[in-house]
């Protein structure tokens, strides 16, 4: 309380902030708190309330929150030669808030995108009309490392391939929300969405007072419901399981979280076996049939008989059972084609082709380096472009032109010339910022947003999502492996101007 008196005695800055936000300046970037306040009285109130709290109080609460994450074991594990070190994903306790209007736009756009990806996957594994009609080059699909011939002609319930989808969205300087990347294989991070909210409700309940934030806590039940919908129709209460690579996987905490929230067993490959075209799990009462597997294991490792013969993590014969329709896998095998960075560039055209609609969420302008004119454009202004290898994820191998040294640019130029098809390039996006607690007080830091969509019979989008924040000053890379943290994401149930 003493601190509050001290801060309120200070002169307000030019924006009228006199407490924690004093001197906060997002510069040229879109600020998720200040700019969105213009459209929402609730967000404006949160900003004012935040300003009345002293930095010391904020820091103390942030410290408590991090201790709690560590004690709860909400960690990812980093392995060195000798030790396993549990690290928390750094949590910033200033929330990222989305207006009702912004969210409805994102929700509609996400559903449209998931629909398109599912239609695209069904098409390429059946008639391949999009290729015949010249919408997408055949070799991009058929020559893709993630294209699975085994899926050709296989019919999936409701045509759903991508049961769980995470789209990486960014907001540009003018406030436009754009798709940066699709994640149609095993998108992770949803556990942080829910756990961050729990943490927030304990650490910062006063900030939420009177703010109509939509709940995220029923994700597990929604996911269970979606997965049950795709089970063979004759089964009353389908047995759903979550298949994890095991405790050594860095996302193990999330697997635990999801299994617990769904109320289903968390199994490893060694708990399952195939007999007579059915999948069973080993229990203390003997074998029990399994109907739906939410697998957090890449295609390669799923079945040593069908894919990588060295995999110790999968289930021998699983593909055979899957091909017969006796078990459902979420996500389906072979969805990796759809979230490939090279295919990404074509998604707006696919939306138009399959749905006869414009894409609600536009792509970031993307140059496909395999196309000669595009490659030349990229080489001409390499220092202004973000160049990404198509096969990688997690922010690895990216060169950010405006931030790169001459040596890094030369290196990237050589790689581009050697294997242009391996790269796409995008102009540098001025990612939106969010007030974030740093050692130097509250400062703007860049954020993205990954909403999660669950699809069984139809698509449901969790109202919220993972807001990742680049904690290093000026950094645009939000990945946890590269110094990123996360924030609680609030979606307002209503907007009052």
């Amino acid at each position: 309380m003493q601190n509050q008196m001290q801060t309120s005695a200070a002169e307000p800055d030019t924006n009228g902030w006199q407490g924690a936000l004093r001197g906060y300046d997002p510069g040229i970037f879109y600020c998720e708190m200040l700019r969105s306040s213009e459209r929402s009285a609730a967000i404006a109130r949160v900003a004012s309330k935040l300003d009345t709290i002293s930095l010391e109080t904020l820091r103390a609460r942030a410290g408590d929150a991090e201790t709690e994450l560590y004690n709860l074991g909400i960690t990812f594990t980093v392995y060195s030669d000798k030790d396993a070190i549990d690290r928390i994903l750094p949590f910033d306790l200033i929330p990222r808030i989305l207006t009702r209007g912004d969210w409805q736009h994102i929700e509609r756009g996400t559903i449209q995108r998931v629909q398109t990806l599912n239609l695209f996957l069904h098409d390429i594994y059946h008639n391949q009309k999009c290729i015949k009609d010249g919408i997408i080059p055949a070799d991009l699909v058929l020559g893709n490392a993630n294209y699975r011939k085994e899926m050709e002609g296989l019919d999936l319930p409701f045509g759903t391939y991508v049961h769980v989808n995470g789209i990486d969205l960014v907001r540009g300087r003018d406030g436009t929300v754009m798709v940066l990347e699709d994640n149609a294989r095993s998108p992770s991070g949803v556990s942080y969405v829910v756990e961050n909210r729990h943490l927030m409700m304990r650490a910062f309940a006063d900030l939420m007072d009177g703010v109509p934030v939509m709940k995220v806590s029923d994700y597990g039940q929604r996911l269970h419901q979606g997965l049950s919908e795709v089970a063979p129709a004759a089964i009353d209460e389908p047995q759903v399981v979550l298949l994890s690579p095991g405790v050594f996987n860095s996302a193990y905490f999330e697997h635990v979280f999801l299994a617990r929230e769904m109320g289903v067993p968390l199994v490893e490959g060694r708990d399952l076996f195939v007999d007579e075209d059915r999948v069973f799990m080993k229990t203390i009462a003997g074998r029990m049939p399994v109907d739906v597997i939410y697998r957090r294991l890449n295609d390669d490792f799923l079945d040593p008989e069908a894919f990588n013969p060295d995999s110790m993590l999968g289930v021998k014969g699983l593909m055979r059972v899957y091909a017969k329709g006796n078990v459902q896998l979420a996500n389906a095998i072979g969805t990796g084609v759809a979230d490939d960075k090279a295919i990404y560039a074509y998604v707006p055209r696919l939306v138009r082709y399959y749905l006869d609609q414009d894409a609600i969420l536009p792509n970031v302008e993307t140059l496909i380096c395999r196309e000669k004119p595009a490659l030349q454009q990229v080489l001409d202004r390499l220092d202004q472009m973000v160049v990404k290898p198509v096969g990688e994820s997690g922010g690895y191998g990216i060169t950010i032109g405006p931030k790169a040294t001459q040596a890094e640019l030369d290196d990237q130029r050589a790689k581009l010339l050697a294997n242009p098809a391996n790269f796409i390039a995008q102009p540098m996006i001025d990612l939106s910022v969010c007030p974030t607690l740093t050692d130097d007080g509250i400062e703007p830091r860049h954020v993205d947003l990954r909403p999660f969509a669950v699809t069984g019979r139809s698509t449901w989008v969790l109202p919220g999502g993972l807001s990742r924040v680049a904690l290093r000053k000026g950094s645009l890379v939000v990945n946890s492996s590269q110094g990123g943290g996360s924030k609680d994401t609030w979606v307002l149930g209503e907007d009052v101007r």
Partner: protein, 328 residues
């Protein structure tokens, strides 16, 4: 309702065992420090090595069993599978696997406990701090047991947890008793049989001193203490008490959870009850063959674990001699 995964049953069985093992070890180290000086005031830390049959393994790496070396080996040494840090690590790793099953309260306590044990260093082994260290470990283990009893849902998982605990504690009690008997046999010139303080130390390490005193107000003798620790069904760390607990949980598996496979274990257990009949044990004490009895009980408990492994954990039937994998 979904049946318990075989692997989870084994993990929770071992989680209970590891914590029980850690608690017993902390008790032994504490008592060794405080109460087991001989008439010349010297400590025999070799006894601790005997309890765990660790003399050879210890000697290879540390040489003579000085207080510091034995403590390092049993508290801090990650390469010693019987050290406190290894036990708590084992419990926590199993808990990590079991997180979808156990309560958040259980997980958080074990996680925090483990992180505290990880921070222990050589300084914590100093003579004047050892007792406090042992208390902290015992408190951590007891907190685990209390939180588990207070929060874990009572289904098959709880049953396997209790089976693991009881088997481990029964085993530890026989080892503790045995080590004292061996040490006593080696020091005949001290007349340990009549040395009450020697047997008092044993009772204290099993948290049984006060109870024993109430039950036997006069005289602490080797015979009475042995009977108390093996056969008194009211003493919660006695072998007889644990066998009753094991029986209760095996019957739950068979009746309440409809697992007929429990029959094999129940049959095996019936034979074990005979072994701790007080009349029989008195005769064994008189004939000086308690060590053989302890050995026999330990082997029976290992066989019981193997039967549970084959009946419920998916251990291969054709290989009955398989060493317990101790799960995660």
């Amino acid at each position: 309702m979904t049946r318990l995964l075989a692997r989870y049953a084994e993990c929770i069985f071992w989680m209970g065992r590891y914590v029980e093992r850690a608690e017993n070890l902390a008790r032994i180290l504490d008592v060794q420090e405080t109460f087991s000086r001989d008439s010349r005031g010297a400590h025999d830390w070799g006894t601790v090595l005997d309890i765990n049959a660790d003399r050879a393994r210890f000697g290879e790496r540390y040489g003579a069993p000085t207080a510091q070396a034995v403590l390092r080996y049993y508290v801090l040494d990650r390469e010693n599978p019987n050290s406190l840090v290894s036990d708590i690590w084992g419990a926590r790793e199993n808990a990590r696997t079991l997180r979808p099953l156990i309560t958040t309260e259980m997980w958080v306590q074990l996680n925090v406990f483990y992180n505290r044990v990880l921070r222990l260093g050589v300084n914590d082994l100093a003579e004047e701090r050892l007792s406090r260290l042992c208390s902290q470990i015992k408190d951590g283990c007891d907190a685990h047991f209390g939180i588990t009893a207070g929060t874990l849902y009572r289904d098959e998982a709880w049953t396997f947890y209790e089976l693991g605990r009881s088997i481990e504690c029964a085993d530890q009690t026989t080892r503790l008793l045995d080590a004292k008997l061996i040490a006593a046999a080696k020091r005949q010139d001290d007349d340990v049989v009549a040395d009450a303080s020697y047997w008092t130390a044993l009772l204290r390490s099993a948290a049984g001193y006060q109870a024993f005193r109430r039950r036997h107000p006069r005289g602490v003798t080797q015979e009475k203490v042995t009977l108390f620790m093996l056969c008194d069904p009211s003493f919660p760390r006695s072998v007889a008490h644990h066998l009753s607990s094991i029986e209760e949980h095996l019957h739950l598996l068979r009746r309440q959870y409809g697992l007929k496979a429990a029959n094999r274990a129940i049959e095996h257990l019936d034979g074990m009850f005979d072994d701790v009949d007080p009349m029989k044990v008195s005769k064994i004490i008189a004939s000086g063959t308690v060590h053989q009895l302890d050995d026999f009980i330990q082997r029976s408990l290992i066989e019981l674990t193997a039967i549970l492994g084959r009946s419920f954990f998916g251990w291969p039937v054709e290989d009955p001699s398989r060493e317990p994998a101790q799960a995660a």
